[in-house]
Amino acid sequence: MNLAKNWKKLCLGSVALLATVTLVACGSNTSSSKKSAGNADLNKKQTITLWSFTTMQPQIDELKKEKPNLTIKQVVVPYANFQTKLDSVLGTDKAPDMVALDAGFVEKYVQSGKLTNLGDYGVASAAKGNYQYTLDMGKDSKGKQVAVSYQAAPGAYYYNTNVFQKYLGIAPNDVASAQKALSSWDAIKKTGETIKEKSGGQAYLFSSLEEIYNPVIGARKDGWVIDNKLKIDSSMTDSLDLMKEAVSEGWCQNTIPQTPDWYGGISSNKIGAYAMPSWGLFYWLKNYAKDTAGAWRVTEGPVSYSWGGTWLAGVQGSKNADAASALAVYMGTNKEFQTWDVKTQNDFGSVKAINKEQGKDAKVSLIGGQNPYPVWSKVADTINGKNQTQYDQSIQSIWINDVVNPYATGKVTKSKALDTFKSDVKSAYPNIEVK
């Protein structure tokens, strides 16, 4: 009798409990401007939360050795969701202390005004030996250094000596001649035509159009937006015709980059060269070279560009912003940490002298024992880091989808493609002036 009587109340109670559970998920959205109580001493016992888009566990383990009192809690958010998740917490009390920012979107956060000024943490003097382009990319429009990179990522051409020897007659260790064949866009065109001719259309110089447009975009003099006006650098429109010829004359296979067909060409001995960043050597080339391992060489190509790299920054108003900012500067400039990173992680670090030191006698078997560091250093010294804007990721993808791919495959005329590009950029960023 008792149970029956209280049954309803029991049910009601449990339902009410379940209802409150749904409300627990609602968080608070206060934008706090708490000033950190702690100072920027990394030797003090403290915890820093770090949000990254790829695991940085090796770096964290090394930092535990170098700064034992520092605890770093890493939250890895996959690249595809990283920005949307970070955008929703920046400026609230759920924001992490430190963020790792990929080159593709670093400018957006640098210009956001939500990162700490690393100048207060001694970055100016500490980063004197860093590559200029990495520093330029981490400076906001007022010239404040708000992010610093701990890796540099110069781009270069990795070419297959089997293909170059067979169709161009270039000996495997004659990197100078290979560089000559890739020294300018005209030379590249001739090289591509020769390969196609000599192989009867079976082999190609490039697998995808990315081999052309990534260097071109990275080497621009002007960025996409200057003084709030859309600017299409002249090198971009010039490259369109080159890419169209590459496809129509058949020396570019026109695969979609970073798909199985693009990777597959690495081991096929049918593709002459790939445009890859320094980390592409140990990441893509290593995984997909298979039987062609040892037959590859690296050379700088016609222009200097960068592709990727990770910048670190402290988040304003977070619980431990001071320590996070100091840590960012540390990771980007400290001799001990950088040396460890370059030595053990196959990274191309951000400090010139350390790369030179470590790269003195490096021999990478994947590229037949060649030392890639001189090539990378040469490129990294001349990369233009001032052509980046916070609109880059979107505008670049609109450029490739609206202009490069349709025009190169002959589907639209150049003027129509550029008109579509301009109207899509206008609808994406109504505040930019588009003529």
């Binding site: 009601l12 409300l23 609602c26 934008s31 798909t259 989808n401 109207s423 899509d424």
Partner: protein, 314 residues
């Protein structure tokens, strides 16, 4: 006299007590609905009247009235293209989907045919609906890859084409693939809904028709289809609302496809909101999507009701 009055009052209050509990049990649903559906919807509609973008919060945003809607409808060709794509993709998906689902439903509910293993086949046909869109998109991306995807190898081996065809650089190639995937994912679910509809029709009607000597085709056309009309209407409306919001397949495969060929309305809204961070425009586009869905649904229901009133046949 007083006793009965009291007992009546007691019974009444017991009844009211039962009533109250019903409402109490409904409260969690309403709380959830208010917080997670109604409030965000009203918030979005509010944002659509502002020019909120980038790092601004709602408090910082400036009110622009109907400007977002005007911009979308008059000076954003991409929006009109996205809308056109969504509707076109839906039409090409829905028609084969309904036809095949009707045929399958007719076969499975046919007493004379008495198909064996219908349970197994129903499961198999429904399965595509349960696979995650990301996996399907990756799978088809690999199959139709250029130049060594499975489809290209197969077509070349069958000597149907001489050179590999770049499906994802061709507007109609990509559209065809997206249409096929949508059709393949949904025809099983639609056919099961139709089976449920057919089995709910009174058996007596079929018996009477058979006794009168009607053929299968006549039974299907004259009895099944007209009585199935409310169910077909249901699938039409739900498919339209879902079809306007197709996002995952075209986005994961080609981010809107070659020359924005499969750039759907949802991709437009997603890019505006999360890539370009124009929350005002994205919310305005969402409101327009809501209005279109509501208007078409109302028109469909209105049209159906008129038919029934006139006599049920049409």
């Amino acid at each position: 006299m007083e006793n009965t009055k009291k007992s009546v009052r007691k019974k009444k209050s017991n009844f009211e007590k039962y009533n109250r509990f019903g409402y109490y049990f409904l409260i969690p649903f309403f709380v959830g609905f208010l917080l997670f559906t109604l409030y965000p919807m009203i918030y979005s509609i509010a944002i659509s009247f502002t020019s909120m973008n980038g790092w601004q919060s709602f408090a910082d945003a400036t009110n622009v009235g109907l400007q977002n809607f005007i911009t979308l409808l008059t000076s954003t060709p991409l929006f009109m293209k996205a809308l056109g794509n969504s509707v076109m993709l839906w039409i090409f998906t829905f028609i084969p989907q309904v036809l095949l689902a009707l045929i399958l439903a007719a076969w499975w509910t046919n007493r004379k045919l008495n198909l064996k293993g219908s349970g197994f086949f129903k499961t198999v046909f429904y399965l595509p609906n349960m696979i995650m869109a990301a996996s399907i998109a990756a799978l088809f991306g690999g199959i139709f890859g250029y130049p060594t995807g499975l489809a290209n190898l197969l077509l070349q081996n069958l000597h149907l084409i001489n050179h590999p065809f770049n499906f994802f650089q061709s507007v109609w190639g990509t559209r065809g693939i997206v249409i096929f995937i949508q059709f393949w994912m949904w025809y099983g679910q639609t056919s099961i809904v139709y089976i449920a509809g057919i089995t709910s029709i009174d058996e007596g009607l079929f018996e009477a028709a058979r006794i009168d000597g009607a053929s299968d085709g006549q039974i299907f056309r004259r009895i099944t289809l007209p009585l199935l009309r409310p169910i077909v209407l249901y699938t039409f409306v739900t498919s339209f609302i879902g079809g306007l919001q197709v996002f995952d397949i075209p986005f994961i495969m080609t981010q809107g496809g070659p020359q924005n060929g499969v750039y759907t309305l949802s991709i437009f809204i997603y890019n505006q909101a999360f890539a370009y961070r124009n929350y005002g425009l994205a919310s305005a586009a969402s409101v327009l999507l809501l209005i279109i869905s509501a208007v078409v649904s109302i028109l469909m229901f209105r049209g159906f009701r008129e038919r029934v009133n006139i006599g049920g046949e049409g």
